[in-house]
Symmetry: C2
Subunit: 768 residues, 2 copies
Amino acid sequence: MNKIHKKYSPGVLSLLPLYYVGWSDNILSPSEVALAAKKIQELTHLSDADKKLLKSWSDPTNPPSPELFAEWVKILKSNASHISNKEKNALSSLGIEMAKKSSGESDSIKWEDKQTRQAIMELEETLGTIPPHTLRTIFPEVNFEDKPVKVSDRTETIKKILDGDFHETSEKVRRLIQDPAFEIDYPVGKEANRKRTMTWCKEMAKQGYGSMSYPEFAGGRGNMADYIGVFSTLGFHDLSLVIKFGVQFGLFGGSIYNLGNESQQRKYLPKTGTLEIAGCFAMTETGHGSNVRELQTTATYEANTDEIIIHTPTYNDGKEYIGNAMDSTMASVFAQLIVNGKNEGVHAILVPIRNDQHQLLPGVRIEDCGYKVGLNGVDNGRIWFDQVRVPRENLLNRFGDIDQNGNYTSTIKNPARRFFTMLGTLVGGRVCVPRAGLSAAKTGLTVAINHSLKRRQFAPKPGLKETLLLDYPSHQRRLMPLLAKAYALNFGLDYLAKRYLEDKEEDVRYVETLAAGMKSYATWFTTEALQECREACGGKGYLWENRISDLKADSDIFTTFEGDNTVLMQLVAKGILSEFSQEFHDEGFRAVLRMLVNQVTTNISERNPISTRQTDHSHLIDSEFQIAAFKYREKDLLYSVSTRMRGYIKKKIDSYEAFLKCQTHMLQLADAYVERKVLTAFIKALDKMDPASREFLTPVKDLYALSALEKNRGWFLEQGYFHPNKSKAIRKAVDRLCSDLRVNAAELVAAFGVPEKCLGDIGKPPTT
Amino acid sequence: MNKIHKKYSPGVLSLLPLYYVGWSDNILSPSEVALAAKKIQELTHLSDADKKLLKSWSDPTNPPSPELFAEWVKILKSNASHISNKEKNALSSLGIEMAKKSSGESDSIKWEDKQTRQAIMELEETLGTIPPHTLRTIFPEVNFEDKPVKVSDRTETIKKILDGDFHETSEKVRRLIQDPAFEIDYPVGKEANRKRTMTWCKEMAKQGYGSMSYPEFAGGRGNMADYIGVFSTLGFHDLSLVIKFGVQFGLFGGSIYNLGNESQQRKYLPKTGTLEIAGCFAMTETGHGSNVRELQTTATYEANTDEIIIHTPTYNDGKEYIGNAMDSTMASVFAQLIVNGKNEGVHAILVPIRNDQHQLLPGVRIEDCGYKVGLNGVDNGRIWFDQVRVPRENLLNRFGDIDQNGNYTSTIKNPARRFFTMLGTLVGGRVCVPRAGLSAAKTGLTVAINHSLKRRQFAPKPGLKETLLLDYPSHQRRLMPLLAKAYALNFGLDYLAKRYLEDKEEDVRYVETLAAGMKSYATWFTTEALQECREACGGKGYLWENRISDLKADSDIFTTFEGDNTVLMQLVAKGILSEFSQEFHDEGFRAVLRMLVNQVTTNISERNPISTRQTDHSHLIDSEFQIAAFKYREKDLLYSVSTRMRGYIKKKIDSYEAFLKCQTHMLQLADAYVERKVLTAFIKALDKMDPASREFLTPVKDLYALSALEKNRGWFLEQGYFHPNKSKAIRKAVDRLCSDLRVNAAELVAAFGVPEKCLGDIGKPPTT
């Protein structure tokens, strides 16, 4: 035993833990090993013999033999037997302690030297976040995994970065939802649930939250940003409240604000903001959901009475899923406006549906949609109209009006453009919905990650502490990429909100496309994240009290409402393609194609044998590489879809059929476009941060980017953009980032700022 | 116009629709085009000039120019203008009608010739299922999509094949759940829900369903197969009933049947089968779920009273999620059995928990788990024991007993083996749970597919009929592969059940591994399928009444209970690896590795440049290719995991740590293993079918196999097993199979035999 004890010099011992961990699972990349070897040659506390030996262990192409490695294990075990658990918890201090113990009395002093300690610690840092629990095998008595659970001052800084421009409003809402009046308990039956939601909505209206985005004459502050901040933050709490709030103040109020004239706004908005008028947004019909243009409800102008007659032709043309339908006294009804026998297309008309005693008005029939799997706090209903008459003034007439002579007038002559302009003003919903969904996902991730930092599963041996869930690689793989994506979406959705709030004329189409894409991409994420979190929490995740499955059930419909995601993604693709639309014929189109070809060819130059094979970690975590790959995918898909479409059109296949043939291809293009936008937003946000935050969040960006590339690696391999080895290296890099970030997991979820009251029992942060 | 009219001879016209469709989107593979060209040369009704022209259009390497293609469009339009919509609905009849119209009076007779018609139809069949709606562009007035909605006599045959050995029982249960007493309405609040579930359970017990698997002396028929059939079929109906039924008769009753002696069976089973004794299965604890061996509840034998004392040490050691806990009078409690101060490991003990008045017995504390997101018809509870005494006879003593002298005895000396043997007898749950989950998924798929055959979205042009949802390629992509996987799992789970029911001594480990894998693979599928179905039905899918989202919420926990899927998949991987366990050292291990290397090398011979590039459709739909690819993935993963494990062990990294390092790798291996088993079962089932059914279901098998390969294409490309072009060809083959099978979609779901009462409003089959 003594022989082994003394086999290595104190200098070598001081670095042995680093070598052990570094070589234990090829955790370090060849370039990192080479870098470390270089640094070691500069260390002054090592003898020449030490350096020579260490150098022989530092050849990336010639890893230590299993026998040598096994020897290290023995030496570490025997030399560390008298060292305290605390010192074993960091590789550098363990090394120094071993060196100290092994030195003679006099020599041992040099190991107290601050400079030596500093040099070794720096070396450890150069190698990045090496998980110290890799030493668990050798020292099973040390709880390596307990160390990293901490929430530092930094958390508050990151939280402010995530809240962004909405920080102040978000903090206000965080306080609000922690008020005892907003306590979340289980409401039995939909009636109790709806009542509770309405009570909360009224409380918020009383405090002025309802009218924030309305003009000052309506009691508001004309500040849409505040509305966005409120809506987002409510997503931590209860989604029925979010939706009821959104329907009343955003959709119903928004239809008056965006589609009405000022006198209509003055007449209705003040009472809408206070909930004196409860209103609903009656657009969707049973027979027509996504296809709004073909709604069947009619609004026929009758000249002699100067009235508009609202009518539902058949049972299947009734309005369906209309939120707030059971509580409302008024509806904003979307119908085909017919004036002088001519259909002028879909317009919105304000229709009173109940009287002061909350009785239905004549001709109005409303049925409860009944139970849904979630959002039972929202009163969705079905509405049919039988020749219901309203005065001409009830037409929301900003974009199309009936004048005193009974003639239809509009500043937008083209009916299609008019239709899309009207709908375009309602894009705010698509800006907001994914934000609330993201908050729900953040809540789920906070619960699942905090749980996994407390909950243990199997033990290495009987009598030893069981392993924390988040120390299982499968659990890291399950949760960490989702955590990274939540961060990425935070910045992506902020970018969308910014462009939306800037409200520039020339941005209208761009914002519509972006909103459609972000809404889909983000709400699909919410569904995926909450599903994974539920399962990651096992039985606990199934209990209502632990929030996740409740949020999952409530948010599931987010992928459908405010535009079905699949339909929206087709809009996105069409939006991208129509940037070239005026050139979509003959020469012009060819010019565009040529431009695209050039772009793709430039990208293809990255497809040379060296770059497709470059597998070094430092290359993979380079934003330039990442964004180039994202762009390549987007441009290549754009190019190939365009070419296909063009080919069909040349074959005289009509455009609808051609679109069907390219449909799944177009959906991929849309996905690539949105994904690139999100990564760009993350990178730009990092650029603007203080250096410490940037350093802290850069690996999160890397995990997002590389997970996305890993997900699409089949495609990249097919294109030859990745060599197989590069694809494998990306997988490995994702593994490594998952493991690296596990150390910061508690802090990363704390920075979401989900109030503890919204986390259920298992979701509370682990105590250090 | 006339010029175009007459441009082609009647012979050419007769085949023009086939050429148009065949070339319209490269639907046909080169080899199919070549085959068609060859057949055409044999047609007697064509002139030599016709043959020459058609031959020039049949060069796979030289497709018709866009200009030529556009000409065909014009000619088809003008020649078909007087042909009825009905005739346009099939390519062959359209061609013949055109030829007839274009011929002179006398000549037209030859087109009435049966042989000619027969020849053209045969040609059409040779080319496989060409979707006739490809002609939609040319003839927008024809409702091509309406034609394929049909349910033929074949449906009943396929249903019987799917039901397999359980057909008779399944039919009985189908009738039962359509009884008015089993009407599904929405139960408000968990109390009402639980009451309803209990009523149904009692009704089933009364009819003898509860005791089916018990011995005759317990009122049963000793027929586990019947129990499996009942459990599976109930999955179409309400999952709370499935689970309550399973807990009472399967888990509680099963613990007595499998772990008790005959006198215990005689004493308790008859009353269990009739529900006179309601019992629960108290295994899981708050602190220990997957890690059953470390349960903390103690069962201490006290010699002087000859009693066993059941005790919960701390709050966190209480039993949790225990189904039937609120209704039970007795619990089968799993606890550490301590005899003469020695812990003999986990054993089950029958513990009365309530008296005749349903009051808790002294020392027993039970709390309601409260609301869950689903399964609120099941009364899950938490149970704590405070020094509760039961007689020694209450120990379920088949595998371990306390004799009259107070000494512990067991026929299985090794405690670990004893533990796993006891748990192994409970494998029936893992055979049954995925079957009920599959039934739920089948219900969801039936609803979503039937809905998509009725619901329309956008129209090509105003005034034309809107397109059916299932005619969108994205919708086919969404649902058809899931439909195929449901079929595959049907046969996979039947194979598992068969091996389980054969109950061979030498199969015990194999069945355990297979059950763990199938349970995970199938229940993950249920979650995925129902999630997709929900979204595919939009708002309708979110309503409780349409079943999907309710089944989703109820079945979500299937991935957790009866063994957490991730933990089970690790078991599978360990099971596969332990086939080599006795040789897991030195030479022996090396021999095994050598064998594996040989196997993989054999497989690698398939990785030669030709086979990796082979992209022909006929190659891709060849079972031999498919199974070889599945096997390659499995063996390669087995080889690489083994090698890695071996490397760690050589480095003296202990096995627990080594396992953690390989964890995600092992999960992949398990997935590959199960997937291969499922495909094999499907292929074997096809072999045994009548030819018509085999022909009908073979493309379903192909879609399952190719979807799985597509999902894993990143991995296959990394290994060089697929050339990029092959990977692309597989994607395209999946597209094509989705489109081909769309024609049979209505029939494929009808064959599941989900009673209409279980389908909600939107799920009813379309009427032809």
